[in-house]
C-alpha cells in the first residue's frame, strides 16, 4: 500500500469516460470496473467507490451502457455492464475532448 493514492477530482466528468473506456474493452460488473481502473492506473487513480454507482445509473439512463444480470467469476449474481453503440460514440467524443484538454494543459505547462 505505502503512499496514499491520489483522489480523482482533478477532472470532473472524467469518471464517465473512464467507465466507458473500461467497458469498451470488456463487459464487467461494478466492482470489476473499479478494480480495472485502479489496476490499469497502477493504483494512481482512486475512485471514491460509492460514486461509481450513481455514475453507472446516469450512463445507463443515457443508453450509453446496458446492464444485464449475470454471474461473476466466483459465481455470484451481479449486474454486468456492456457498452452500447451510442456509448462508443460518446466515448469517442469524450476521448477527443480529453485529448484536446490534456494537450492544451501540456502546452501551458511546457510554455515556461
Amino acid at each position: 500500500m505505502g503512499r496514499k493514492p491520489q483522489k480523482n477530482d482533478s477532472l470532473p466528468g472524467s469518471l464517465d469516460m473512464l467507465i466507458l473506456r473500461t467497458l469498451s474493452r470488456r463487459d464487467l460488473h461494478g466492482y470489476g470496473i473499479l478494480q480495472f481502473i485502479q489496476q490499469s492506473s497502477d493504483n494512481e487513480l482512486l475512485v471514491e467507490e460509492g460514486s461509481l454507482y450513481p455514475a453507472l445509473q446516469r450512463l445507463e439512463l443515457n443508453d450509453w451502457i446496458e446492464g444485464v444480470w449475470g454471474v461473476t467469476s466466483n459465481n455470484r449474481r451481479a449486474r454486468i455492464y456492456k457498452i452500447t453503440a451510442a456509448g462508443r460514440k460518446r466515448l469517442a467524443v469524450e476521448t477527443r475532448k480529453y485529448a484536446k484538454l490534456t494537450l492544451a494543459i501540456a502546452r501551458v505547462m511546457g510554455a515556461e
Partner: protein
C-alpha cells in the same frame, strides 16, 4: 414500479461491491471484521449514494415527461384539425358518461346527508301476494296508504306498518340490550296548503314521530326540531320548515322561529328550520313542512284518528338506527319474532294466519328506495349506451392515430435507428394520446355540466317538486379523470406498439410503410364501430317506435287546446256544502274568460284517473248484474263538451244536476253495449251498493280511454256529477282558443278574486299532462335518438377516415391497375366493395348482439317487440347508406388518381 425494482437492484449491486472489497482486503491479511469496516469506509455513505442515484432517475423521468408533453403539444398543434376532432369526440363521449354517471351516483350510490348514515336501517315486510287462487283478498293488510313492490320469488314487499307495530317495536328500545338506539316513523303528508301572512302555496309535507330528527341525527339551522314532547295527542301544534321555505317566505331561518302559519287553515307555530342539505329520508321528495305525526288528526279529520287503533291498516313507515356493534342481521333476528307475534294477533281468519307479513331490515344509508327502484334500470341502460359510445369514440380515434402512426413510421424508424429505446417511444406516443384524452375529459366536464342539467330537466319533466340532487362532485370528477386516462392509454396503445415494430429497415426504405397486419387492426376497429352503432341505432329505433305507439293510442278525447289546473277548497278552509257552490260558481266565472269556450271540472285529469282515489268504493250493479271493470269519473257540467267527447244519446252532466236533485250518471258506449245490449240505457238505473246510491242514467258518451296509456285503460266508464259527490280536490279543464298557457294569468286572477288564499297547483296543458305519464319513454326516445346520431356520426367519420387513408396508401397500386386498363367504375366499385364488406361484417356481429341485448330493454317497450323486424331493417339500411356515403368520396378520389403521377411517386 420500475423505480422500486431499480432501487432493489442498486442495493444488491452495492452489497456485492462491499462483499468483494472485503474479501480482497481479507486476502491481503485483514481480519474479517476489519475488512468489512474498511470496505464500508472506502465506499463512502451507502444511503447517500443511493439517494443520488434516485435523484438521477427522477430528474430524468420528469425531464423526459416534460419533453414528451412539449413534443405532444407540438404534434397536436401541427395537426390542428385532427386534434380538434379527437378532443371534441372524446369530450362528447366522456361528457355523456360523466353526466349519466353523476345521475347514477346521486340516485343509486349516495348516502343520506346525515351523521353516520351506514347505521340506519329501513324496516320492511314481505309476504306472499294477498290474493288467493280465486282472486279473493286474504291478508291481514286490509287497507294500505302507500305502495307495494315486488320482492324475490313472487313475494310482495312494503314499508308500511300499522301504528301498533311501531309501538310494539318501539318498546324493545326500553328493554335490556336493545338493537336500536332510535326507532322513528314517518309518512307522506302529501300536499298541504301553507299560508304565511295571507299568502298561500301548496307544499309537500311529511308527518314525523318525535324521535325522527334525533334518530337521523339532524341538527337545526335555527330553533329546535320536533321532539317526543311535540308528538302526542293534544300537544301544541308545531311545525319545522325547510331551509328554502324559511328563506323564501321569512327572509332567513332565524326570522321564521316562533312565527304563526296556517297549514290547511289550521294554525301551527314554526319551532325550527332544518339545515339546507337535509331532505328527510326519501331522495325523491324534499318536504317543505315537517309536522308531528299526531297532528294528522287536526288536519286529516276523524278518519286519521281511527288509523292509530286499526291493526289492519298499514300506513306508517319506519327507520331505525343500529346501536354500535349491532349488525343488521342481529337486529333482524331480534325484532322479527316480536313483529311476528304482534302481527299474528291481528289476523282474524286461518287464511290470514297462513300468510303473515315477515319483518325484514334493509340498509337505510341511502334513504328510501323509491327513486332507485324507479330509475336504476333505465340508468343502467343509459350508462351502457354511453359506455358503448365511448368505446366507438376510442376505436375511432385509435384508428385515426393508427393512420397517423403509419405516416410517422419514418420518423419513428429514424429515431429507433438513432438508438432511441422502444419503450421510450411508446411512452412518448402514450403521453400524446393521454394528453388528447385529458383535454377531451376537461371539455367533457363542461359538456357534462350542461348534460346533467338537461337530463335532470328531462327526468323531472312535469314533476313539480322533483328533487334530484345531481351535481358534479369530486367523486364523479375522479371517475372522469380516471376514465380519461384509461381512454388515453387504450387508444394510444395499439398505434404506439404498431409504430415501434422492429422492422426498421423496411420502414426506412418504403416511406409509405404499411404492413398488412396494420390494416387488420384498423378493420377490426371499424367493424366494431359499425356493430356498436347498429346496437345503438336499434335501441333508438325501438324507443322511438314505442313512443310512436304511445302517441297513436286512441284517447277518445281532446288532447290539444285544453288547460288543466287543480284546486283544493277544503285545504283552503272551505266546508261542506259551501265547497260545491264555490266550485260551481268558479266554473261559471272561468267559462266567462274571453277565449275560453267551455270550462269544466273533474276529480282528476282523464289520463291520471284511477290514481286520485275513488269517490265511490265497492261494487256497482245494474239491476242484479254486477258491473265488472268499470271506472268512475267524477265530472262537472259540460265535461263531455270541453273534452270533445261525442254524446251519443241523452245529455251530459249539466248545471241542473244539483246536490239535492236526482243523482245522475252518464255511461260510455262500451258499458252501455255490454250491459244493455241494443236497448237504450237512458232512464235506467245504476247502483253503488256500498253507498246505497241509485243513479239515473241520463246519457251515453262515445268510448274514451280511462287512465294511463300503458296500463290497459278501460273504456267502460261511469261519469257521475261532481256537485252530487263533492270531492275536495278538483281539476279544472278549460277549452281555449290558441295556446292554453296564455290563459294562465287570467286563471290566477279569477281564482284569486274568488278566494285569495287558495293556491292554484299543477297548471299544465292536457298534452303535457298526457306526456308526463309517458315521461320515461319520451326521455328514452329523445336521448337515444341523440346517442344514435352521435354514434352514427363517429362511426361515419371512422369509416371515412379509414377508407381515405387506404386509398391514399394504395394510390400506387390503383395507379398500376388503371395504367393496365382498369375502368374508373371498377376502381369505385373496388373501394365501395371493401366498405360494404366491412359494413356487412359489422352487421353480422351487430344483428345477433342487438337481438339478445334488446331483450334487456323489453320492459321499456310498448306494443313493440324487442326483435321488431322493421326497426332492425331500418337500422341496417341507415347504417349501410351511411357506409356507402362514407366510402363514396374516397372511391371517387381513387378513380381520379392520375396513373402517371401515382407511378412516379412509387
Amino acid at each position: 414500479m420500475v423505480s422500486a425494482r431499480r432501487s432493489e437492484a442498486l442495493g444488491e449491486e452495492m452489497e456485492l461491491h462491499l462483499a468483494e472489497k472485503a474479501a480482497d482486503l481479507e486476502a491481503d491479511g485483514m481480519t474479517a471484521d476489519r475488512a468489512r469496516a474498511e470496505a464500508r469506509r472506502r465506499f463512502g455513505n451507502v444511503g447517500l449514494k443511493h439517494e443520488e442515484s434516485r435523484e438521477i432517475w427522477m430528474t430524468r423521468f420528469f425531464s423526459e415527461l416534460g419533453q414528451d408533453v412539449r413534443y405532444g403539444g407540438r404534434t397536436m398543434a401541427a395537426n390542428k384539425a385532427f386534434s380538434a376532432l379527437a378532443i371534441l369526440t372524446l369530450a362528447l363521449g366522456i361528457g355523456a358518461n360523466t353526466a349519466i354517471y353523476s345521475l347514477m351516483e346521486s340516485i343509486l350510490l349516495r348516502s343520506l346527508p346525515v351523521a353516520e348514515p351506514e347505521s340506519l336501517v329501513v324496516l320492511n315486510w314481505r309476504s306472499q301476494p294477498p290474493q288467493n287462487a280465486s282472486k279473493q283478498w286474504v291478508h291481514v293488510v286490509h287497507g294500505v296508504q302507500g305502495i307495494f313492490w315486488p320482492g324475490d320469488k313472487g313475494t310482495l314487499v312494503s314499508g308500511m306498518f300499522p301504528y301498533g307495530a311501531f309501538e310494539t317495536l318501539g318498546e324493545t328500545l326500553r328493554e335490556d340490550n336493545p338493537v336500536f338506539s332510535a326507532l322513528f316513523g314517518y309518512f307522506n303528508g302529501r300536499n298541504k296548503t301553507l299560508a304565511i301572512r295571507g299568502q298561500a302555496t301548496s307544499v309537500g309535507a311529511e308527518y314525523v314521530t318525535g324521535e325522527y330528527f334525533r334518530g337521523l341525527a339532524a341538527s337545526p339551522a335555527a330553533g329546535r326540531l320536533i321532539s317526543s314532547e311535540d308528538d302526542h295527542p293534544g300537544a301544541a301544534p308545531v311545525a319545522v320548515i325547510s331551509f328554502a321555505t324559511s328563506q323564501n317566505r321569512f327572509g332567513g331561518p332565524p326570522n321564521a322561529i316562533g312565527q304563526s302559519i296556517l297549514v290547511d287553515n289550521v294554525p301551527f307555530t314554526v319551532i325550527g328550520v332544518v339545515p339546507p342539505e337535509f331532505f328527510g329520508v326519501d331522495p325523491a321528495a324534499a318536504p317543505d313542512l315537517y309536522l308531528p305525526l299526531h297532528t294528522n288528526v287536526l288536519l286529516d279529520g276523524a278518519r286519521a284518528a281511527r288509523l292509530y287503533s286499526d291493526g289492519n291498516f298499514y300506513w306508517i313507515e319506519m327507520m331505525g338506527r343500529l346501536r354500535p356493534g349491532v349488525s343488521m342481521a342481529q337486529a333482524q333476528a331480534a325484532l322479527a319474532p316480536r313483529f311476528h307475534q304482534w302481527v299474528g294477533a291481528t289476523a282474524s281468519t286461518e287464511g290470514e294466519r297462513a300468510n303473515l307479513p315477515a319483518l325484514m331490515l334493509n340498509p337505510g344509508s341511502e334513504g328510501l328506495g323509491s327513486l332507485r327502484r324507479q330509475y336504476s334500470k333505465p340508468l343502467y341502460v343509459l350508462l351502457a349506451m354511453v359506455g358503448l359510445i365511448l368505446v366507438i369514440t376510442c376505436a375511432n380515434i385509435a384508428n385515426l392515430l393508427l393512420a397517423r402512426a403509419a405516416a410517422r413510421r419514418r420518423e419513428m424508424a429514424v429515431r429507433l435507428s438513432l438508438g432511441a429505446g422502444r419503450l421510450r417511444i411508446v411512452r412518448q406516443l402514450l403521453t400524446e394520446s393521454v394528453m388528447l384524452a385529458s383535454l377531451g375529459g376537461a371539455f367533457g366536464v363542461l359538456f357534462a355540466i350542461w348534460g346533467v342539467r338537461s337530463l335532470t330537466f328531462l327526468l323531472s319533466h312535469g314533476q313539480e317538486n322533483f328533487t334530484l340532487h345531481a351535481e358534479l362532485n369530486w367523486k364523479v370528477l375522479a371517475v372522469t379523470a380516471a376514465l380519461s386516462v384509461v381512454c388515453g392509454l387504450l387508444l394510444g396503445l395499439a398505434p404506439a406498439l404498431q409504430s415501434t415494430r422492429p422492422d426498421v429497415m423496411h420502414a426506412l426504405k418504403n416511406g409509405r410503410g404499411g404492413v398488412p397486419h396494420h390494416r387488420h387492426v384498423q378493420h377490426v376497429l371499424v367493424v366494431a364501430q359499425i356493430a356498436i352503432s347498429f346496437l345503438i341505432l336499434v335501441a333508438a329505433g325501438l324507443f322511438v317506435r314505442t313512443l310512436g305507439k304511445l302517441h297513436s293510442v286512441q284517447l277518445g278525447y281532446a288532447r290539444e287546446n285544453i288547460l288543466l289546473f287543480s284546486l283544493n277548497a277544503r285545504q283552503a278552509g272551505h266546508r261542506d256544502p259551501e265547497i260545491t257552490t264555490f266550485y260551481t260558481e268558479l266554473r261559471k266565472r272561468l267559462e266567462s274568460i274571453p277565449g275560453v269556450s267551455s270550462a269544466t271540472l273533474s276529480q282528476s285529469s282523464i289520463i291520471s284517473a284511477g290514481h286520485a282515489g275513488k269517490a265511490y268504493r265497492g261494487t256497482m250493479k245494474i239491476g242484479a248484474v254486477t258491473v265488472e271493470g268499470a271506472g268512475v269519473m267524477v265530472a262537472g257540467p259540460r265535461f263531455l263538451t270541453t273534452m270533445q267527447i261525442p254524446i251519443l244519446t241523452g245529455r251530459e252532466i249539466e248545471d241542473r244536476d244539483q246536490a239535492g236533485s236526482m243523482p245522475v250518471a252518464v255511461i260510455s258506449e262500451r258499458l252501455a253495449r255490454t250491459y244493455f245490449g241494443n236497448d237504450s240505457p237512458v232512464g235506467r238505473r245504476i247502483t253503488f251498493v256500498d253507498e246505497k246510491l241509485d243513479l239515473e242514467i241520463v246519457g251515453v258518451s262515445a268510448n274514451l280511454r280511462y287512465g294511463g296509456l300503458k296500463d290497459g285503460g278501460s273504456s267502460m266508464i261511469v261519469f257521475t256529477a261532481a256537485s252530487q259527490s263533492s270531492p275536495d280536490l278538483v281539476t279544472y279543464a278549460l277549452r281555449t282558443a290558441g295556446d292554453p298557457l296564455s290563459y294562465v294569468r287570467s286563471v290566477h286572477e279569477v281564482v284569486r278574486s274568488a278566494d285569495s288564499r287558495m293556491p292554484v297547483t299543477n297548471v299544465v296543458t292536457q298534452a303535457a299532462e298526457i306526456d308526463r305519464t309517458i315521461n320515461r319513454e319520451l326521455t328514452f326516445a329523445k336521448l337515444c335518438t341523440g346517442f344514435a346520431v352521435l354514434a352514427l356520426l363517429i362511426a361515419w367519420v371512422g369509416l371515412y377516415g379509414t377508407m381515405s387513408y387506404n386509398v391514399a396508401r394504395q394510390a400506387g397500386e390503383i395507379g398500376i391497375r388503371m395504367a393496365l386498363g382498369a375502368q374508373r367504375d371498377a376502381v369505385v366499385w373496388m373501394v365501395l366493395r371493401r366498405v360494404l364488406i366491412l359494413a356487412a361484417m359489422g352487421l353480422a356481429i351487430g344483428v345477433p348482439a342487438a337481438l339478445s341485448a334488446s331483450q334487456l330493454v323489453k320492459s321499456f317497450l310498448f306494443e313493440t317487440q324487442p326483435n321488431d323486424p322493421g326497426t332492425l331493417a331500418l337500422a341496417g339500411v341507415v347504417l349501410l347508406s351511411a357506409a356507402i356515403l362514407a366510402g363514396y368520396a374516397p372511391a371517387r378520389r381513387a378513380s381520379r388518381i392520375d396513373p402517371l403521377a401515382a407511378l412516379r411517386n412509387e
